[in-house]
């Protein structure tokens, strides 16, 4: 510090430069502190991986070879998982259209879009698993609880994505429709929807992809599908079967990701 004060004024570096470096250094220091602090909380024990590597090897060996004897029931439940994802996504898309429009600042006044946005935040903030556990209480064990859980969570996500697309539209075509004497609803249908359609389709397909992944997890709390089987085989220490179930999930999810990604490219 004393060194800095002795430098004559004329020799100072351009303003902003050194200050930014100091801010950067502070930022990195803060980041390091957070990491160190979180180390304890997260109970990080990387050495155990090496120390218990023998156990790990035995544990992993139990996964192979995978046991596909029950493959019929795995496939049947995997298809149920897809059904859950399809219905959860379709219902969410249907709800996200009005909710998305109602959370767009260029469509509705502030006293409408602010409350609707907060409602969508709430739908999105809570994980599908939590919703699934709640709906199991409400509608009983089974796939329908999974559909409900995906539906609510996905509505929150899609409504936000949909409204962001709506807020980015070109206002001039909308004004063109308005000039013909169209009603407010016609203005949205003919001026707004055509502009956002490609993005909306792309977002919906993407959410279907992620819902196939989520649907296999919501099953673990009892909401139907392959997740139920996965949970049972893990609890029964049937690692060879666990491996088979996981391979089936990986195959399905990857295939759907690939197909859907190919499909989405058509709309952008």
């Amino acid at each position: 510090m004393t060194a800095a004060t002795t430098i004559p004024e004329g020799a100072l570096a351009p303003p902003g430069g050194p200050k930014r470096t100091l801010a950067q250094a502070l930022g990195w220091a803060a980041f390091a502190l957070v990491l160190a602090w979180a180390w304890k909380g997260a109970d990080m024990r990387p050495l155990d991986l090496w120390k218990d590597s023998g156990n790990m090897r035995i544990f992993l060996a139990e996964f192979f070879p995978p046991d596909f004897r029950e493959w019929r029931s795995y496939l049947r439940e995997m298809v149920v998982t897809l059904h859950i994802a399809v219905w959860g996504t379709v219902l969410a898309v249907i709800c996200a259209v009005p909710f998305g429009l109602l959370s767009s600042s260029n469509i509705v006044p502030v006293w409408v879009y602010q409350p609707v946005r907060r409602l969508m935040d709430a739908c999105r903030a809570i994980n599908e698993m939590v919703f699934a556990m709640l709906f199991i209480v409400a509608v009983g064990l089974g796939p329908f609880a999974g559909v409900m859980a995906l539906w609510i969570h996905t509505t929150g996500t899609l409504a936000k994505l949909f409204s962001e697309a709506v807020e980015a539209i070109d206002p001039r075509p909308v004004e063109g429709v308005r000039a013909t004497g169209a009603s407010a609803l016609e203005e949205i249908l003919y001026g707004v929807i055509p502009q956002v359609m490609p993005l909306w389709i792309s977002y919906s397909l993407y959410r279907f992809e992620s819902n196939v992944r989520s649907a296999s997890v919501v099953g673990m709390v009892g909401a139907g599908g392959i997740g139920v089987i996965l949970y049972e085989v893990i609890r029964g220490f049937e690692y060879a079967q666990t491996c088979a179930v996981m391979l089936i999930i990986i195959t399905f999810v990857s295939t759907i990701d690939l197909v859907s990604a190919r499909f989405r490219k058509l709309f952008i």
């Binding site: 001039r172 075509p173 004004e175 063109g176 429709v177 308005r178 000039a179 013909t180 004497g181 169209a182 009603s183 407010a184 609803l185 016609e186 249908l189 003919y190 001026g191 055509p194 502009q195 359609m197």
Partner: protein, 285 residues
């Protein structure tokens, strides 16, 4: 007489918060079937005036009424309660065409029917054979019927502007407001669009109020011109009297912007060789 007029504006003022008013006591009356040019440098209030007539913008609280035919569009700074339906009587042609680019030309033109058809049909996008026929007829009258099933975004500027005019025709509007309809077009398309506006005015008796940046187009297509400067009507009379001397008196130094390119464009328009070449190029394209 406000009753018989196609358009009557009484002492309309608008200030957007700035000390300089965007419109200052504008009073204007148009007889049915007239074609009037609205000229002025950029920022003189041409667009603002047209947008007030369609009720897109409200005038100041003390303003007089804006009447289109028998309908009061706005009065004392309040737009009519049923302004959305009243807009059906006013065709609006924009500088940037304002079509929905992802929809077909046909759908863009059919939109002119929206106020007339039952809501359930417009929301399902169902148009009857007769409605399609009317749209087709309007497209033919502006020469774009061959493009009916193309997406509007694939058309050239001149073609898009003709789609916008067809949309106004399908509206069955008795008055068309054109806000700098040729400012974004090349000279040939500009001439073409002005010819179409003049023709529908002449043949169908539709009243046309067209704002223009360049005076020579006003002189060529409109017998009457209204000139704005800083939101005030500074001239309202025969276009023929608007010679360079008159314009210099009205606008001073700003006149250069409005006469800019006059000689070149006039030369292009009047040169038979150039016109023939352009026609041949258009035919081969």
């Amino acid at each position: 007489m406000a009753n018989g007029a196609a358009l009557s504006i009484a002492a309309l003022s608008k200030s957007f918060g700035a000390p300089q008013r965007a419109l200052s006591e504008v009073t204007l009356e148009m007889a049915p079937g007239e074609m009037v040019a609205l000229i002025g440098a950029s920022g003189s209030g041409k667009s603002t005036l047209l947008r007030h007539i369609s009720g897109f913008v409200e005038g100041d609280a003390g303003s007089g009424g804006v009447r289109v035919g028998a309908s009061l569009m706005q009065d004392k700074g309040r737009v009519a309660r049923d302004i959305r339906r009243l807009r059906a009587e006013v065709g609006f042609v924009f500088q940037q065409f304002n079509l929905v680019g992802r929809l077909t030309v046909m759908t863009n033109v059919l939109m002119g029917q929206l106020p007339r058809i039952p809501a359930w049909r417009s929301l399902l996008g169902r148009f009857t054979r007769a409605e399609r026929a009317e749209a087709w007829h309007a497209m033919r009258s502006v020469g774009i019927e061959k493009l009916a099933w193309q997406r509007a975004s694939t058309l050239s500027g001149g073609q898009q502007q003709r789609v916008a005019i067809a949309r106004a025709l399908v509206q069955r509007a008795r008055i068309i407001l054109a806000d700098e309809p040729i400012a974004s077009l090349d000279p040939e398309s500009a001439r073409n669009v002005m010819e179409i506006l003049a023709r529908i005015n002449r043949e169908q008796g539709i009243t046309v109020l067209v704002s223009l940046h360049q005076v020579q187009f006003a002189r060529r297509y409109c017998t009457r011109t209204v000139a704005l400067r800083l939101g005030e009507v500074v001239y309202d009379g025969p276009s023929a009297d608007l010679d360079a001397t008159m314009l210099r008196r009205l606008y001073g130094a700003a006149v250069e912007e409005m006469l800019d390119g006059t000689e070149t464009i006039d030369a292009v328009l009047n040169d038979p060789v150039v016109a023939e070449g352009l026609a041949r190029a258009a035919a081969s394209a």
